[in-house]
Amino acid sequence: MSQGSPPALRRLLANLRAMPRAFWETAFRSGKPTTDRTRSAFVFGNVFYHLHSARVHRWSLRWPTTWGLGLITFWSFALTVVTGILLMFYYMPYPEGAYESMKDIQFVVPTGRLVRNLHRWACNVMVVAVFLHMARVFYTAAYRAPREFNWVAGILLMALTLALAFTGYLLPWDQLAYWAITIGANIAQSPREVTDALGVTHIFDPGGLQKLLLLGSEEVGKEALLRFYLLHIMILPLVLVALLAVHFWRIRKDGGLARPDDAGQRLGPPPPGTYPVFTEEPQKTYQLAAIVRGRTPQVSQGPENTLPAMPHVFYAELGVLMFTVFLCMLLAVFWDAPLKELANPQVPENPAKAPWYFLGLQEIVSFSAFTGGIGIPTLCVIALGLIPYLDRERDGTGLWFGGPGGVRLFLGSVAFGLAAVIGVEAFAIQFGWLREWWLDVPQLLVTFVNPGTVLVLIYFLYSVWVARRYNSTRAGALAVFTCFLCGFIILTIIGTYLRGPNWEFYWSQADWPVH
């Protein structure tokens, strides 16, 4: 009893002293990522990192391979999730409360204005980045086998991004929101333009059903606000996160980022001091007999020119995160998210404009609700999804503007795409369209023959011509994708800057009539 502490107590104290270190070691079992083995274990031993492969090709880490666009999209999404959850502390999803709580968030809640601005700007950054990311994947021909399905998943993610942006637009319940949603809900109803013209609306009314499901009522009211809130904070994010997991997982399962077959020669030897790059053939070869199909895992080929994901990939991801947050923060500090006066169902804004990424759509909607709002967008999404299944060539995969035609065809398509959209728009603005020449024109003719469909037809014929001229499906795809991108940009610019009250054309906002 008297000779010091009993051994058990001494052990307990020793264990207590060793506890912090032991806790760390049990949490991160692989130890410090200093050797090749522990660097790999760092990746696959961690639930948050294990979507990554343990090693990545040097080609994937070059900035020009991706410009980090997919990561910017992801990080800005993460930023909207964080700021969105913060906004939910105060936001009240019913008409009397919504606008009041937006005012509170804007003027009373500590950091409320900044968090709301961040949410809005991160959303905008996400929309821009998702478009640029798609363009990057297209122009580097990275959608090709075995990555076709992931391209389709990406198209769906782009649609979900736009749906999230649109549903969030209603929530402030201000004039901007109310009329954008009224227009959006009536676009959902616009199949009636066709069913009415055919006289079958009373038996077949998909438009009415869509609007009813979206609004839960005949007009934009508290039911619609609740539904948009539910879509915005629950349904769409859940679907998006699930699809995002598939999208990331497939990057890895499809063999990492697309790269040309001769990526090794193009890269040259690794810069001195780059740790550690595998360049030799492995000492052993393995026989894999019919366990897996396809090109992974690679047999009789070493992981040449690969780097451990820890730290190289993680540093790159962290860098892009810093850039994304910096960009959003910069925008959020200097530019406030708009908040107009309380929604007034009797007086629309004039002009009533959707958020900028829908203004290209609004421009073609001003020719025909159904064609512009549903027909052409659906056609575009289907066409985008078909690209990897129609272009099965191999030439130029992983290279910017790879494939027949290359940069010259891209520039030519830009010129043609811009000329066509500006020409068609200028004609429609200067001379009007069918109804201005022939007052009693049948509605179906306006629905199917309008500047929007004419433009689609011109682009389609051009790309068919290009595909024949270069004798290449890739060249045709390059032409049509570039044309639609040009059309989207020009229509968005016209909708944003050159349309004034009553959707009339004005060269500048200074020319708008004063009310």
Partner: protein, 165 residues
């Protein structure tokens, strides 16, 4: 591994494979019933968001026209998207909801202009320009008392239907 292919005429042994294996059949039936159950359940759940009773407020309202309302001039009852007119033939009401995408049109001397996408309508509500696919709706008007009329925003009538003053 050593089973011989059974030739015709030979009686089938207990060990020989059946034409459609019983397990396969049961498995297929189980999968089909599970798929059917899942499909029906999903359809049932999908039925929920489609409201059976519309929560819209009453669409009927009374309006008293001022004695001095000149013919062809709109009277716009507050809180309603309707323009009411009176001329020598009677009283009529035209909905101000644009048939294109639901914006509220503004009465102007030539008829109605839509602020959202530039549709224009003449004084009778017929489309004269822009993307609107249909003329503006004419609404049911019933005379309630002198100068007081019952207007139903939920019920449309053919163009040119006027209620005798």
């Amino acid at each position: 591994m050593t089973t011989k292919p059974s030739s015709a005429g030979e009686t089938r042994s207990r060990l020989d494979p059946e034409a459609v294996a019983r397990r396969d059949f049961l498995g297929l039936a189980a999968r089909c019933s599970a798929a059917t159950a899942f499909l029906l359940a999903t359809l049932g759940l999908a039925r929920l968001p489609k409201t059976a009773v519309l929560p819209s407020p009453s669409k009927k309202f009374r309006v008293t026209l001022p004695e001095s309302l000149p013919p062809g001039e709109p009277y716009q009852p507050p809180g309603r998207s309707v323009a009411v007119f009176r001329d020598e033939d009677g009283v009529y009401a035209i909905s101000k909801i644009c048939t294109h995408l639901g914006c509220i049109v503004n009465p102007v001397p030539t008829g109605f202009d839509c602020p959202c996408h530039g549709s224009r309508f003449d004084a009778k509500g017929d489309v004269i320009r822009g993307p609107a696919p249909k003329p503006l709706d004419w609404l049911a008007v019933a005379r309630a008392a002198d100068n007081t009329y019952l207007i139903d925003e939920g019920s449309t009538v053919p163009l040119g239907t006027k209620e005798m003053a």
